[in-house]
């Protein structure tokens, strides 16, 4: 369907980028993947740590750039991620916008559509997930909706590839909507008054005015350089608000929803839907009683896949067989033959060698574990279970002064704490981001470490497992609670959307895993190489021995551990897994008794994360924060370990 009106006909050139926007969980990324095929790059949006996917859409011989944006609830952002979407809409002009809507949640989707209409952006409305809507008995008259709004409307089931051809063909017919919303008189009067203060941007003056009236202060600072203009705008907003009984942001949305309800009456028809297996499953997953055993079962399955298959079988295959028997001996031989210099030989293949340690470790040990973890995590993500996990654990997190949304980074931390620290930016308040970062750095063992630790702990008996688990969780909860009191700032509201449970597409899971792996390989392996080189230098300059001697008073008397363990802790900081395996080696050689092993395990778990994580904290939150975290966690780990040691010895537990 093409536009048959003459409203300010902007011709959008073929090279103008296509921008996908929409609510979260509507299938934007699936659509993006389907439209772009192989040609995708993921990079940071300039000036932020938010990642944006860009690709190329090939159609009729033309190649058009297409950009996927973070999900939004409104063009006025609620979080840093959403701010990027607003920025993209402000920056790229001209563009074609495709708004992806979950057909069964049309009401919310139309809120954004109305904003696009007000902004004067040419767009297409894409009603996605048509299959789920049909199953619920929801039918939408796309033709009628298109006539009412004045933009093309296309239905799709992106995950099955249905309707994509038509969508791509319709891209050139995107146009500005004709539908307008009229607000209450004081609001309309305010909009008129504001117009003279507003700059020209890709979004219309009317839409900017409404965003300022709704309270988008960050946008105010960004777009209005003059203090006088800003003061004038704030005054107009205050004066308007005083005339109304409710906050302006709410009233504007309320007005929009009223007109949307009128549209929906004409366009949406309800029939009786089928009770799907998915709907019933959704009830059980968050059931106050049944939800817990289900959670335990899921966690156990994750453990089987990551801990046993990944950390056990795959690591064995790669480390012992591939690297141990084939690659390393061959490379060692090559190096020793080709390079006569002893020092260089040692640097590459010696005790702290680049090849024998850094590469072997990161590729043979950590990679299979992290791969299996990311696979499982992507599966949980796409199936819609993760928000339900947050619902189950919300009460526990509230004890710690967090809300359930923190579940996502914390679970991701069991895979790789460095990556999880990056994910903390989905949390809305800075206070919560800092809290979770601290807790991740403190007590969450990453997958590379977890396998070895669990293996050793269970070897000491169930009592040891309980003590270890109790100490770690107890420390986390206590520190979390204290941090909530001390760190200034607001806790954000616990408002979490529960998306429909659906069977994820294998392709999407694999794509997500590959993307995360790529990040992991590029960001983390260089750090391992750096860490090993640092160790090499420390060892060669005998500084390592010196540090061991310096720390030994604490190690020996307070912790009752042999001096060799200093090396293990030091190494554990630079390469977290090696700390655990070094401990394993000491224990196997009989150098430690059960109490010592348990104390060391607790310390290693509570220890500062690997150096890569510190770098990540510095990158996201600044060097001062990173140093503060380190300065807090190290002493705490030793203190808790020492206390545990004293208690175990006095009470004669574990002999």
């Amino acid at each position: 369907m093409s536009c048959h009106h003459q409203v300010d006909n902007k011709i959008v050139p073929d090279e103008a980028p296509v921008i996908l926007i929409g609510n979260p969980n509507v299938g934007k990324s699936v659509l993006f993947g389907a439209l772009t095929g192989h040609y995708v790059t993921v990079s940071n949006y300039p000036g932020t740590t938010v990642e944006i996917s860009r690709g190329t859409l090939k159609l009729n011989g033309h190649a058009r750039p297409i950009i996927d944006t973070p999900g939004i609830h409104s063009i006025s952002p609620l979080s840093d991620d959403e701010r990027v979407t607003q920025d993209i809409l402000l920056t790229y002009s001209p563009t074609t916008v495709v708004q992806v809507v979950d057909m069964k949640n049309l009401r919310r989707g139309l809120l954004v559509a109305l904003e696009l209409a007000e902004a004067g952006l040419p767009f297409i409305l894409n009603l996605n997930m048509a299959d789920e809507a049909k199953a619920q008995g929801i039918e939408v008259d796309a033709g009628r909706l298109s006539k009412m709004l004045g933009v093309p409307v296309v239905s799709t089931v992106a995950i099955r590839g249905i309707g994509l051809e038509e969508l791509a063909q319709q891209l050139n017919t995107a146009c500005q909507a004709t539908y307008t919303v009229t607000y209450d008189t004081p609001v309309e009067a305010a909009i008129t008054r504001l117009k003279s203060h507003l700059p020209k941007t890709a979004l219309s003056a009317r839409s900017l005015a409404l965003m300022f009236l709704s309270g988008d202060d960050a946008l105010l600072t960004r777009l209005i350089p003059s203090e006088a203009d800003r003061a004038a705008i704030i005054t107009i907003r205050r004066e308007t608000e005083q005339q109304m009984a409710q906050p302006l942001g709410y009233l504007i949305n309320w007005q929009r929803l009223k007109t949307i309800d009128a549209i929906m009456q004409n366009v949406v028809h309800r029939k009786l839907g089928r009770q799907l297996w998915a709907k019933r499953l959704e009830r059980w997953l968050i059931h106050p009683i049944a939800g817990w055993p289900i959670l335990a079962l899921i966690l156990y399955l994750v453990y089987l896949f990551v801990g046993v298959l990944g950390a056990g079988t795959l690591v064995d295959l790669l480390e012992t067989r591939l690297f141990g028997e084939i690659i390393n001996p061959w490379l060692t031989h090559m190096v020793e033959t080709l390079i006569p210099i002893g020092l260089v030989q040692e640097f590459l293949v010696g005790e702290y060698g680049l090849i024998t340690i850094a590469l072997t470790y990161s590729l043979a040990i950590v990679l299979p574990i992290v791969t299996t973890f990311f696979l499982v995590f992507s599966l949980l993500e796409d199936s819609g279970y993760l928000p339900r996990l947050a619902v189950m654990l919300n009460r526990v997190f509230r004890l710690m002064g967090l809300n359930g949304k923190a579940v996502l980074p914390m679970i991701l931390g069991l895979g790789c704490v460095t990556m999880a620290t990056m994910t903390t930016r989905i949390l809305e308040s800075r206070k919560e981001r800092l809290q979770v970062t601290l807790l991740l750095a403190l007590g969450v063992p990453c997958s590379a470490q977890l396998g070895v630790i669990l293996g050793m702990v269970t070897g000491l008996g169930t009592m040891a497992l309980i003590i270890w688990g109790g100490m770690v969780i107890g420390t986390l909860v206590a520190v979390g609670y204290l941090a909530a009191q001390v760190i200034p700032g607001e806790q954000s509201d616990f408002v979490l959307e529960l998306p429909a449970i659906r069977l994820p597409s294998l392709r999407n899971i694999v794509v997500k895993t590959v993307a995360r792996l790529e990040w992991y390989l590029m960001e983390v392996i260089p750090v391992f190489i750096l860490g090993t080189s640092a160790l090499f230098i420390l060892d060669k300059t005998t500084l390592l021995a010196a540090i061991e001697r310096a720390l030994s008073p604490i190690i020996v008397s307070w912790l009752n551990l042999p001096t060799q363990i200093t090396g293990v802790f030091l190494v554990g900081f630079l390469r977290r897994d090696y700390g655990a395996t070094g401990l394993f080696a000491l224990a196997r050689d009989g150098a430690l008794n059960p109490v010592q092993i348990l104390v060391s395990l607790v310390i290693i778990t509570l220890f500062v994360p690997c150096i890569a994580n510190l770098f990540m904290i510095a990158r996201e939150y600044g060097i001062r924060t990173a140093l503060a975290v380190a300065a807090f966690v190290f002493p705490l780990a030793f203190t808790v370990g020492g206390l545990l040691n004293q208690v175990l010895q006095r009470l004669n537990i574990l002999g």
């Binding site: 609620l78 906050p247 929803l257 619902v391 509201d493 408002v495």
Partner: protein, 148 residues
């Protein structure tokens, strides 16, 4: 304020010993200009504020969940917490809800006149508006008032 020792009345703000002294802004003591008696200014002490939070005095009401009905509540309206699970009701108004929260909820379609249903209360409250399911904190549930 009134000095507890000598009874001298003076203005505790803008004291010269705070404005002239370089440490003045961090000084958490108030000294009587007449007799020199020192009293602690609790609002300026970080440690005291922390102590208040970790160990609230028994005089404070920790739980603001008053059982009394607010005066401005309309007839035939009750908070959503009073509605049984599975019953669909219409939102009437929002009681004492901070503006940010109000705006955020409106983006999910939660406005006066919308139909809402409580799906469960434990382990976390979950509500349904049309086809959207939201897990929300209990305090929010108490602030949404619906028509009986």
């Amino acid at each position: 304020m009134l000095c507890q020792l000598c009874g001298y009345e003076f203005e505790a703000t803008n004291m010269a010993c705070h404005t002239e002294c370089p440490m003045g802004s961090h000084c958490n003591l108030i000294c009587c200009p007449n007799c020199g008696y020192q009293v602690v200014n609790e609002s300026k002490s970080f440690l005291v504020q922390l102590l208040h939070r970790l160990w609230p005095s028994s005089g404070t009401i920790k739980n603001s969940n008053h059982q009394r009905r607010p005066k401005n509540a309309r007839r035939n309206t009750v908070p959503l917490t009073h509605i049984p699970i599975g019953q669909e009701v219409e939102i009437d108004s929002f009681m004492d809800m901070p503006p940010d929260r109000l705006t955020r909820l409106s983006l999910f379609g939660l406005t006066a006149g919308t139909l809402i249903e409580v799906l469960q209360r434990y382990p976390s409250p979950v509500i349904r508006i049309d086809q959207t399911e939201l897990a929300i904190a209990k305090e929010i549930l108490e602030q949404i008032w619906v028509k009986l």
